[in-house]
């Protein structure tokens, strides 16, 4: 998954996960990367190519986001190398 949505509040991160999982999208909560957002909580990984549909689904459910990023945490390489 090469996309990442950051949030202002964990309330919206949790709702985003529920909304998108409920619609059958593959998403995963990860610790919010501090280089993208200063929030302590979580961010949501998703397929960046799906961003238009994903964002439309979130807007429809009043889920507010901080930003959408094309982002792959470097930790992905960690599991590949091992």
């Amino acid at each position: 998954m090469d996309g990442l949505i950051s949030f202002f509040a964990s309330h919206h991160a949790m709702r985003a996960e529920a909304v998108l999982k409920g619609s059958g999208w593959a998403v995963r909560l990860i610790p919010g990367p501090k280089d993208l957002s200063p929030n302590c909580g979580v961010a949501l990984r998703f397929e960046y190519a799906q961003r238009e549909n994903v964002l439309a689904a979130l807007v429809a459910k009043n889920v507010r986001i901080d930003g959408v990023h094309c982002y792959r945490p470097r930790s992905d390489d960690w599991s590949v190398r091992r």
Binding site: F7, H11, H12, M14, P31, N39, C40, V42, N62
Partner: protein, 387 residues
């Protein structure tokens, strides 16, 4: 044992409530919204699922407008201190609990103008009198939804309409009704509604919340860490974080969600019907016992699951002691933290004996209580005759 003190806190709780607390401590013991590891995420899911469940129960279309607090008193303080400023005028009724009265009396010393509208002897507010108390500079109307002493249900839809005609905000204290009487915050058009988690919602103590309509801005009661906007030393303004500084009572909220889910399966209409049947049964039986004085509306349909009474010649505390020790009936006696309400009913300063029924009470328990009151009534009359 017969538990008739559900207006203080409901008992028993559904087994799922106890299981939810155990699950939190066992499987999801992290701090919600503070980290991205699985235990923190699991705790955040618990909190947000609970928020969704509560929002759905009250028909709030945006769950971020439900803010969790320690209890209804905390929620009422957040609403009152967050909204009212010196020079503002606020209107309330004479049936209110001290969780409304004490903050308002304190705000009065800070320069807020307060009008307390007198209710009738049955606790019912006179809409004409209330209408005349509203002024062009009134900022807020505050009323209970259901009296914790007389059980009287306030006509909140009519009160909301009155308030909004004059662009006055309306705060409802739903401590006695949340989970027991259906509430649709959008249909009734409420601006603010405080609720507790441990009474009708069947959750643990230490839970509650405030519904805040979109567009209503409150100053936070406390400020601090929220896990969000952490680069800034100023309080975030977005909900729910603006009003939820400090670690939430996640275990309690897990239990609250289980209580709300239990109620959603039953349906609040069924709870209301059940409690009002018990009230009607009690009122019909007690009104035939000589020496019993009943307070509040005679029509059970105008009440939540709360009844107040006295046995002539015996103090409320004596009746409470006899009920507990000789009949195993748990009742609350005295002033019920609502001196203004007792002045309204004419029962100040001695107070009343209060029975408050819940989902887990049944008609057989009402019969036992009525039989007990008959015996106490006979004893009271002989006591009065001999002294």
């Amino acid at each position: 044992m017969i538990y008739f003190d559900n207006a203080a806190t409901s008992w028993p709780k559904p087994p799922a409530v106890c299981a939810a607390l155990s699950d939190y401590f066992g499987d999801a013991g992290g701090n919600p919204g503070r980290a991205g590891h699985r235990m923190s995420v699991a705790a955040a899911r618990i909190v947000e699922n609970a928020r969704e469940a509560v929002a759905e129960l009250f028909h709030a279309n945006d769950s971020s407008r439900i803010v969790f607090t320690q209890n209804a008193t905390h929620a009422l303080n957040l609403a009152l201190y967050g909204l009212l400023r010196p020079g503002d005028h606020v209107v309330t009724t004479s049936i209110e609990h001290n969780s409304v009265m004490r903050p308002l009396r304190h705000l009065e010393t800070l320069g807020v103008e307060l009008t307390v509208v007198a209710c009738g002897a049955d606790g019912m507010v006179d809409l004409d009198i209330l209408h005349h108390a509203l002024r062009s500079d009134t900022r807020l109307l505050v009323t209970t939804h259901g009296s914790n002493v007389a059980g009287t249900i306030m006509p909140v839809a009519a009160l909301a309409a009155f308030a909004h005609e004059q662009r006055i905000l309306y705060l409802v204290d739903a401590s006695q009704t949340a989970g027991a009487i259906p509430i649709d915050v959008q249909h009734v058009d409420l601006d603010l509604m405080a609720f507790t988690g441990h009474k009708g919602l069947l959750g643990p103590t230490g839970t509650g919340g405030l519904y805040i309509r979109e567009g209503v801005a409150l100053s936070p009661l406390i400020r601090g860490g929220t896990g969000s906007d952490s680069a800034h030393e100023t309080q975030p303004e977005f909900l729910p974080d603006a009003y939820e500084s400090g670690t939430l009572n996640v275990a309690g909220i897990a239990g609250l969600a289980a209580g709300v889910n239990f109620l959603s399966e039953i349906g609040i209409d069924a709870v209301k019907t059940h409690e009002q049947k018990l009230v009607a049964q009690f009122l019909a039986g007690a009104s035939e016992i000589p020496g019993i004085t009943l307070y509040g509306p005679r029509d059970g349909a105008l009440r939540c699951g709360v009844v107040s009474f006295n046995v002539n010649g015996v103090t409320p505390s004596e009746v409470g002691l006899i009920l507990d020790e000789s009949f195993g009936i748990c009742a609350r006696t005295g002033l019920h933290c609502a001196p203004a309400a007792h002045r309204t009913l004419g029962t100040f300063p001695m107070g009343t004996v209060r029975f408050s029924f819940g989902w887990f009470n049944g008609p057989a328990e009402i019969d036992v209580a009525l039989a007990a009151l008959r015996q106490i009534g006979v004893w009271a009359r002989s006591e009065l005759a001999t002294h």
